[in-house]
Symmetry: C2
Subunit: 526 residues, 2 copies
């Protein structure tokens, strides 16, 4: 496979350490050829120092130059061949079509950020022109734009080895913002990570980027050193609540605390409302069960909680759902750790007196068995921890309220979520008019009559939400708004035009929309 397993530091390859790591075939557990060198603490330092050196150069490149880099990354990703797809499939047990699609999503994401850079609204340019005659005091000339926060550490996810990993959304948005990246390769797909890092480095070379713009280190123990390094100014993370919270705590305890954007845990409630049930119970049961097991349930937005109101129709629906779930085949998970966690999560559900098992083969062997449970609503109302954290895998839990009022109470008791879904007819939306505003307070995205899996990469997407869905509800990790996480505002007071950044020059050479004296305008100033 021609993999060196070396770390990527400052455009070079480096293997100072003795600890070798191995990637495995996710389906067979067989060790793949080759080894990856865990970064030493010295290499962590070197990687961050390379990013720090690149930072003042990279952040000051014209945004159009950074766009060229992102487009070049996209081209390199698209050019990764069938052998690359096969490698990723082997490391993750994900199907070929899925990885091909994910590659397109990942390169598309890079190109979308290139567009954002050319569009220029990310600058948030604002100009308050001088008012020298103002009484009692004149107003100086004030101009604000947003600039990169500094080098960013990124921790990818196992479940999207491309779109949420080495060249994924966090890397794309940080690079777009002007922040060099130090990426901690995920242990679940190190070979894939090496291939993608090579693509990134090729793109950086082809477009003349500073060598430290992208760095990647291998190793399980290096993450803490990375987050604690004084050169790192922000962290992007997708993974478990435990892992994300640990990074947040580390970052908050630094001499200089830094923001951590961790996308962590969500049970993504789906509310099945009465009129929808009456209209299309069978279709909902079928589609919902398909959504639960899609990709072996290994999505951040997998529907882990189905909420409804008890009724004869609801009982019939649960029975339909049970029948569909019972038909779902077992699937291979991303890795042994994920499967073990799934088993533990199921065991906790099985052993809780307030939870009954509705369908699913006993969990054993090396595949995940789809499971359906029903839990007493008291678990939600009393904030039982069991129903708060997601069971990552093809499993969901039905909870029934006695009536409309209890349903609203249960929804109010929910923790922060990435998504909430309403399966509803128009009449339901009128009858349950309180639901939308309550859900809006608790989630990053509210969906009607769809399923939360499948996250569009676009301007309007929010893949975020209140804790514990993420560590900072003000961010999104998917979509163009995610660039905001890595930008901070700077104001220039009475700086001559020649010394201002292009975004703020009088002539508006970038042709961008700016807030000038309180009005949006693309005009040149006198």
């Amino acid at each position: 496979m021609n993999l060196s397993g070396f770390n990527f530091i400052d455009g070079q390859r480096s293997a100072e350490g003795d600890t070798r790591l191995h990637s495995v075939d996710a389906t067979t557990g067989e060790q793949l050829p080759g080894a990856f060198f865990q970064a030493t603490l010295g290499e962590v330092d070197l990687a961050v120092e390379a990013a720090e050196r690149a930072f003042p150069i990279y952040r000051n490149l014209p945004a159009a130059r950074r766009a060229e880099f992102l487009d070049a990354i996209a081209d390199e990703l698209d050019a990764l061949g069938d052998d690359f797809v096969a490698l990723t499939c082997r490391e993750t047990a994900l199907p070929t079509a899925r990885i091909q699609g994910e590659r397109g999503r990942t390169s598309g994401q890079m190109r979308l950020f290139a567009q954002v850079l050319r569009r220029g609204d990310f600058y948030g340019a604002r100009i308050d022109q001088a008012l020298p005659e103002r009484k009692p005091l004149p107003r100086p000339d004030l101009r604000q734009y947003r600039t990169a926060v500094g080098p960013v550490a990124v921790f990818g996810a196992s479940n999207f080895p491309l779109a949420f990993s080495t060249a994924g959304g966090d890397t794309a948005s940080a690079l777009a913002a002007g922040c060099p990246v130090v990426f901690k390769a995920h242990s679940g797909h190190m070979a894939t990570a090496e291939r993608v890092a090579e693509a990134l480095v090729r793109a950086a070379e082809k477009t003349g980027m500073p060598t430290g713009v992208f760095n990647m280190i291998f190793g399980g123990g290096v993450g803490a050193a990375l987050v604690k390094h004084p050169g790192i100014q922000a962290v992007g993370f997708t993974g478990s609540l435990k892992g994300g919270r640990a990074l947040c705590d580390m970052a908050a305890a630094r001499p200089q605390p830094i923001p951590v954007f961790a996308e962590m845990s969500s049970i993504n409630p789906v509310l099945v409302l009465p009129q929808a049930l009456q209209a299309r119970s069978a279709a909902i049961a079928k589609d919902l069960s398909a959504s639960v097991v899609q990709g072996c349930g290994q999505f951040c937005t997998n529907p882990g909680l189905i909420l409804g109101i008890a009724s004869p129709q609801m009982s019939a629906f649960v029975e339909q759902l049970r029948a569909h779930m019972a038909e779902q085949a077992p699937q291979t998970m991303l890795n042994a750790g994920t499967l073990a966690s799934y088993g533990k999560g199921l065991a906790a559900l099985h052993s809780h007196p307030g939870v009954s098992h509705l369908s699913g083969q006993p969990q054993s062997g090396n595949q995940a068995q789809p499971q359906l449970f029903q839990a007493d609503i008291s678990l939600l109302l009393e904030h039982d921890e069991l129903l708060q954290e997601e069971v990552f895998g093809p499993c969901t839990v039905v909870v029934l309220a006695a009536d409309r009022k209890e349903l609203l109470r249960a929804v109010r008791a929910l923790q922060g979520q990435l998504t909430a879904t309403l399966l509803a007819e128009d009449a339901d939306l009128v009858e349950f008019a309180e639901l939308l505003p309550i859900l809006e307070q608790r989630v990053g995205r509210v969906l009607l009559n769809g399923y939360p899996t499948g996250v569009e990469v676009s301007d309007a997407m929010v893949h975020g939400g209140p804790y514990p869905a993420t560590s900072d509800a003000r961010g999104t990790s998917v979509g163009t708004l995610s660039i905001d996480r890595f930008l901070r505002p700077v104001c220039f007071q009475n700086i001559p035009d020649a010394h201002l950044p292009d975004a703020l020059k009088n002539a508006n050479p970038l042709g961008i929309a700016r807030l000038v004296d309180g009005q949006s305008s693309t005009r040149a100033l006198g």
Copy 2:
């Protein structure tokens, strides 16, 4: 003075506790009549619960209704009479003209946020219209806007008893965002706080706001309970590094961590460059010394560090500066605690072997004596803590570099700052072209040929900066961008027009600019 000293909870007055606090005349130290009741832990809970009850109502009011509230607050502030100004002057020892001006700034700030609400750009509205025919998958209709994060705890500053306190920038931006506020009254001006809180409550009543929209509690020990309360979703703070960091640590350790926007410590370097020195040394010495002692140096943006390159001209300038500083009269500080801190800061400077005292009467008595020091540049280059944290008061420190290169090294060694100022001619800007980009990485605002005191409240202002200037460089606590701190994005997927917030409806009833399919537009959609 007709002050009850009761806490403000849910539109009512409350005094459950036994601990009484007293305000003092800042000039004489004399205790003012009346007492303030420290809030009990039960009252802290009640205040937050009131804010929580108000939240779903208040955040969903049309922005124009919240704007009416802010305008009404502004009117109430403007209507506070001469007796109010006299009271504030008595509590803070600040001069009448200053408090009159600050009242105008504070009401102006409220009106500016009312304009922002009517302008509607704070919504950040984005619409990606459905693409039902897209291959391989259709795109759903996705619409994003920003909504309030939840109840906010605000801690005001002593040095701006109006503009950074009860109805100050943090309160104004939180209320504008749709977040009810629980304000912790500053112990340095509790009578002023009561008068301002009354004004806020009157405005809330007149405009029909929910009663819990603004609450205020008295007491030294109640801040921690407030920040730890699960109902609080963000914190605004202006004050010391120690105080701000303590709040950050508390907020990060909560079961649900929340963001803290703390504006803390800045020494606001002023760089005096050679050509400027040649052109106008005398004027700079005069203006700079005036800026250092203005308002007894009690500004977050007070110039605490003067940087230049050693030369005969520079020596002459330092002598001019010394002469001006020696002429400055002592002034009464905000309170005894501030004076004691000033004395401690001076003592530390006096006792450091790398620091020499250039001018200033020995610090004693009940007024602050203006002081000028000179420190060896090694203190900056070696990150000596003495030069990192501000000495709050009429004091500044000169540091001279041997040459251009050493000056750049010293600037690179600076911690995060609210401001940096260049006193420079055009030729200096060319010769020191690296300076601007380096400073931009370290500060929230870069000024040319002005003085950092005097912070304009406008769209383009940034009163923020990297740590320790603030706890989150991505925010500003002055200017309209400060509303962003208290907003988070939410996405609606396939929600029918009738159930969308007005900002996202097809007809664009608010007439706001929206990013529609990647292009800014105010048009109605089909």
